[in-house]
Every structure is written in structure tokens, then in C-alpha cells.
Symmetry: C2
Subunit: 413 residues, 2 copies
């Protein structure tokens, strides 16, 4: 069987294929557990928030008309009819000429439409309060429904739950929400040379790095990593492990297979599954070209490059956004949440047109200037290039390279 | 007892006080669990990595001298003496005029110092290989010790374990490392108006938002949140809960206390503990000024502002970096890992000199241009300002504001 090594597609085409896979199903989750997950349905505000007009300040609740034009030199005088507690729902209506002492967060009585800060008042004794500042209706208060109005569509399905959203949901008394299930990601390492990390160092054996880095990156993206250990280069064993991993997970990642033989074995194993299809034999990115995308039934199987550094770059650039997509996130490949630093490129960096280059760079910080980014070169079998890198610089496929002095965006990793 | 409301210090001074607290103790952790934690000791490489010279390519291991000057038109001819397997440690020495077939990752035999890629060779049959390209010593091989040399100091204490570090540690056979313990962060909400989120909506009650957002942000920073629920505004109850939280945690966060009464109560509760001291009554940031820092024995207690939005900004700007410091991270307040986006400010934004402003902004993306950042204004008791914000723009204390059209850095939240 021959698989064309050069039948590779652009990153955009590869992403379109990935986007054809459906997100995970929906389940109820407490808002605490929903943090970082993606909403599976729209959420409407069940009530007005705040439920009544509240004070933003310690001061006096007034009807603004009664303190109209008040100044230091020409104060207004109001009678304090009540000392409201913060947890009190006042059951009276403020009479003309009256005011009520109110703490921050306190509920305004009917008839009051503003709060005068305590700093702008003076207590004259026997209940009379001198008001030294005019206030406009609505001043220093949060209006009923100002945060959210009852029935308002506050979130759309596909929205990732942030800490501030957990706060708003708590404020609305919403303790549980529908979210996409955390996807399970099966991880299989392949290669006759691979040994567990407990094994002693020996020429001819390589400790299994990919299982460990993939586990970290899957967790970071929000998935649940499920390790299937090391599988030797035997088609029967690989098929059996792959079948089990496909049955038990939402996505399966195979790593290893930089050699021609291993790549062919990966492709053969995927093709041996029922209802399987190889969708892509490679993607025009560097490092990461020999990335295979297959489909078994409705599930995606990715054959990642074997080189330790290549597999990490493919995880960051393609697989982690894909996991977010499978978690239900809209526009997951836009990667709007990537941490970016501006930097000045330290040397000319050529790039082959037609492929997107992920150049590892280290950053040297400078006082009062952009940091300098230096490309970190080295063979992709070496771990140290990513160890020394602070981030990645992406050179687009339509560019022949970047120049020393160019202002670049460095994606921190 | 009177506490000066205006006895506030700069953010830099506040940070210096926070830096005086010692990090958590050290414990052994598996490398998987160490991901995101901070190393408690230096790590030396226990061996050479790789342990022997390895091939980066599928091809033929050669002695470069034997293929010197080889080209398409003037190839060299070598005898293939072995077909090496990837998991083989060759026990022979390559003889002059010989080569050995080698897969990616395979170990080179003695006497070989380069690999010619299979694409630049041709098998002539009966063991003779035509070499069509000259190669330099070291070409297409990873040298013994090229990643790390035995005894090399590969990590210093204070380094945060990244995914790529987990990979290098796995490659070196290091399954466990010493890390700073995850700090436990006690969270106490105070206020007579606070009710649990299950409670029905009612004027005069406010559901407890801060416990939920603090839990998320503590986890995000890497700490273990420990909730102590809602404490009413009674000094005895607050003292009892605070004493318990201090005993059980590395840091205690109190939230609530925007009103003068609540602030005084927080200060009194801290001061009532044995060996206690109030280190700061406020910090010159906005929002977040009424942030109290206390010390009980050796442990920090932070009295956060009560306003829901203020407390979230103080968490992001001060408390989360502080948690990283307590986790052992060097230069935690440099916040070098914050996700930043460049943007163009959409309108003039004044700021009071002498305080650092954290202005919430929303980003509007534009094709081929920097996004436009619009300040999101609103009372700090409202949740929606942070809900609508994509990030924060920091206006330094020595600045009177920024102008529409200014290029700004937006810290994504």
C-alpha cells in the first residue's frame, strides 16, 4: 500500500475537516464545575437583577427634587425618618422633606430616587440632616434590573463560562447550567523503541515523552486524557488498542510514526476499523507536516508526528483548538484567548512559501522597549528547542520570511 | 476605633509587603501532578540525553569521509552491512566503505558520524547503496548529550513546570520532582445582606457572588479554594470563622465590607487574632482601593472590597499573582504570562493621577487592523461591566489618562 507523502492540505482545509466533527453531548453541571466549560443552551435571566433599587454608597436615600440645588453654601435640610439596615426591604414610602440613612447595598424605599453620599451631609441632631450637594435622579443607585432584566437573553449556547459569568449566574440564583460534556481524549504511543519512563537509559530505547506531554496539553485544553500506554509496531496490537480507544473516547490521538514504516502502520490501523476513512495525509505546517486525520464512525482519529517537538507544536496549533471545538466552543480555531506578546524579531527568519511555520522563539526582555525575539533552532527530535522557547512566532503560508527588526506577535506557550 | 480611610499605599508598596510572606513548603510530586506547580529545588540531568548518537531521519548511517564529495552526477558507493532496527543498540563498528540502514530514532553504530536521508540514496541490489549527496559529520543525527549533558543544571528552584518540562523530565526518567505545595486559600464572605444562591430573590438580600468568583480565580491561579460560607456582621462569629480559616489555610480572603461599618469589623476581627498586625489599609488602585492586608502569625489575611466587580479586579491584579508567589514562583508580580492583545483605544479615557486604574474594555475586532478597545463604564456594584468586558487596560499611576487612537495593551480576562 502506498500513501502519498506529499498529498498534504493547507491548515485552513485541515481545520474545515476538523470542524465537521460534532461537539460532545450536553449535561447539567453546577456552576462551579461549569467554569471553563461551554454552555449547551441559551440562558435567560429568570428575574430582574438587582430585584429593587439599591444604594451604591453609604449615605442618605432622598427624592432628588427635595435636594435640588443644594450646595455647601446653600444646603437643603431633610428629616431622617429611618435608619435602614442593609438586609432590610423598606415597607414605607419616603415623604416629601424626608430622607433615610442607607448603607452600601441597602434597598431604597419607594419615593427615593437617589442617594447622597455621607461625605456630603451633616447630621445636625434631633433627626435633621444637612444636604450639601444636589443629586440627580438615579445618582449613586443601581436601578432594579440594571444588571439584567427578567427574560433577557444573557448567554448564548457556545459561550465559554468565565469566572465573571459564574458570578452573574450565582447572583441570579442559577446553581446549575447545561454544558457540553468534557471530552475524553484517548492517547496511544506507538514505536518499538519506546519504553516507560521508569526504564533505565539505554542506547536503542527512548522513554515515552509524548504520553506525558499530551496528557498535560489535553488537560490544559479542557479534555480528560485517557492513556493507553505504549503499543509496539505490530498491526494486530495497534488495531486492538485503537478499537478500544475509539469505543471509549471522543477523540483518539496516536503519536509516534515519524518513520515511513510507522506512518504506514498508523494509516493501516485506522483504515482497518469499520466505517473508517483517512481524511488527510498531511498538513502544510512546519513542524507537523506528517499529521494524519482519520474518521472512524463519527469519531476523529489523529495520527500525530513522532518527533517530540513536532507533536507538541501540532497539539498547540491544531489539536487543542480542536478539543475546544469538540467542547462546543464557537470559533475555537480563532484562538482569541492565546496569550500574545509583541516583540522585535532579532534576526532574519526565512520560511518556505506554501506552509505555515511555527518558529520557536526565546524572548529577551528590555527596559522600556519591546522584548527581542530570537528564533531557537534545532533538530525537531531534540526537546531543548521547546524548553528554551518562550513562545511561537507564526510565519503565514504566503510569506517568504520575516526580517530582523520586524514587530512580531509571539504566542506565549 | 478609627481607621484612616485615606492611609493607602501604592501598588508597588503593597506588593513589597506581599513578597515578604514565605512560599509554601516542599513535597514530592509525580511529574503529571507537577504540571503548573513550581519546583522547590534545582534539577540536574542524571544522564546524557540522548544516551547515544541517534538518527533524525530514515536513511543510511555513514562515516562522512566515505561519502565526501558525493553528488547526483558523481555518487559514492557503500556496502550496506546491517539493517538496524529502531530499538537496537548496535554492537559493531562501521568499517570503511560500509553503511547501515537506519530508521528515524535509531542508534548509530560506532564509526558512523552522519546519516544520509533515504531520498538521496539508491539501492542497487546485492547490498550496494548509491549515495548521491555529500554529508557533513553530525548531519541528520542528534549527538549523545545534545539535549542535556549528565550533571547539567537543567532547572532552577522557582521554575514553573510547563508541558515541555514534563516531557524533558519524562525523557530523563525523572518521574517525581520536589514542588511547592498547592496553597490552601480560605474564603469568607461577610455581610448581613448575603444569602446563599439557592435563596429566592428579595429586596434586602443579595446572593453571595464573591464566594463563587473567588473559588474560580483561586483555582485558576493554582490554589485550593476552601469556602467558609457567609458570616453575618457579628464580631464574635467573624472572629471564630477567621481563627479557624487561618489555622487551616495558607492565605485567608475576606470579602464584603464596602460599607464603613463592615470595613471596621474586618479590621477589628484581624486585630483580635494573636500576633496580628494590619500592614495596609488600602492600595492606590481603582477599583480596589479599600483592600486591607493583615498578618496573623506568619499568615496573610486580605480584606477585599465588597463590591462584586472591585473584588474581581483585585483578585486578578494582586491576589492571583500573590498566590503564584506563595506557590514559589519567582517574579510572580511581573505577570509575564498574562494574555495581552494590542488594541487601539476607542475614546479618551481620563484617569486620576496617583492611582493605577484598571479600566474594563470590550474589544471590537476589525479585519486587518488592531481591534478597537472601548471602555465599559458602570457602577462597581454592577456585574455587567465585567461581563461585557474582554479585558483590562491598565493606566499607570503617573498618567492622567489615555487618548482615543492610542495603541494600548489589553490584558484578556
Amino acid at each position: 500500500m502506498h500513501h502519498d507523502f506529499f498529498n498534504i492540505i493547507s491548515r485552513e482545509e485541515f481545520e474545515s475537516l476538523l470542524l465537521s466533527f460534532a461537539p460532545t453531548g450536553i449535561e447539567k453541571s453546577s456552576i462551579a464545575d461549569a467554569y471553563g466549560l461551554v454552555l449547551g443552551e441559551d440562558i435567560l435571566s429568570p428575574e430582574d437583577l438587582p430585584p429593587a433599587n439599591r444604594s451604591c454608597m453609604d449615605g442618605y436615600a432622598v427624592n432628588a427634587r427635595n435636594a435640588f440645588g443644594a450646595t455647601e453654601g446653600n444646603p437643603a435640610y431633610l428629616e431622617c425618618c429611618a435608619e435602614l439596615r442593609v438586609d432590610e426591604a423598606p415597607d414605607f414610602t419616603l415623604k416629601p422633606g424626608d430622607c433615610a440613612a442607607i448603607p452600601t447595598g441597602g434597598t431604597l424605599p419607594d419615593g427615593a430616587d437617589a442617594v447622597v453620599m455621607v461625605e456630603h451631609t451633616h447630621e445636625l441632631g434631633s433627626g435633621t440632616i444637612e444636604i450639601r450637594k444636589s443629586s440627580a435622579p438615579g445618582e449613586n443607585i443601581m436601578l432594579k434590573g440594571e444588571d439584567t432584566a427578567k427574560g433577557e437573553n444573557i448567554y448564548e449556547a457556545g459561550h465559554t463560562v468565565r469566572f465573571q459569568d459564574v458570578g452573574l449566574l450565582a447572583a441570579l440564583g442559577i446553581g446549575n447550567v447545561s454544558v457540553h460534556k468534557k471530552p475524553r481524549i484517548g492517547i496511544i504511543s506507538t514505536g518499538d523503541e519506546l519504553v516507560e519512563i521508569e526504564s533505565p537509559s539505554r542506547a536503542g530505547s527512548i522513554r515515552d515523552v509524548n504520553s506525558h506531554t499530551l496528557r498535560c496539553l489535553v488537560s490544559k485544553a479542557g479534555g480528560i486524557p485517557v492513556n493507553y500506554g505504549i503499543v509496539r509496531d505490530e498491526i494486530e496490537k495497534l488495531e486492538a488498542t485503537l478499537a478500544k480507544a475509539i469505543a471509549e473516547n471522543d477523540i483518539v490521538l496516536l503519536s509516534g510514526g515519524s518513520s515511513v514504516g510507522m506512518r504506514d502502520l498508523t494509516v493501516r490501523a485506522i483504515e482497518s476499523m469499520p466505517e473508517s476513512k483517512i481524511l488527510a495525509h498531511g498538513v502544510a505546517i512546519s513542524p507537523g507536516k506528517p499529521t494524519i486525520l482519520g474518521k472512524v464512525g463519527s469519531k476523529p482519529v489523529l495520527g500525530l508526528p513522532g518527533q517530540v517537538t513536532s507533536v507538541q507544536v501540532v497539539m498547540l496549533s491544531i489539536v487543542m483548538p480542536f478539543i475546544r471545538h469538540i467542547m462546543g466552543q464557537k470559533d475555537a480555531f480563532a484562538c482569541l484567548d492565546r496569550p500574545i506578546r509583541l516583540a522585535e524579531l532579532g534576526r532574519n527568519t526565512p520560511s518556505k512559501q506554501g506552509r505555515e511555520d511555527y518558529v520557536r522563539v526565546s524572548l529577551k526582555h528590555r527596559e522600556g522597549k519591546l522584548p527581542i525575539a530570537h528564533p531557537v533552532y534545532g533538530k525537531s527530535g531534540l526537546l531543548k528547542t521547546l524548553i528554551k522557547a518562550d513562545g511561537l512566532m507564526i510565519i503565514p503560508a504566503d510569506t517568504e520570511g520575516l526580517y530582523a527588526g520586524d514587530q512580531i506577535q509571539v504566542w506565549l506557550i
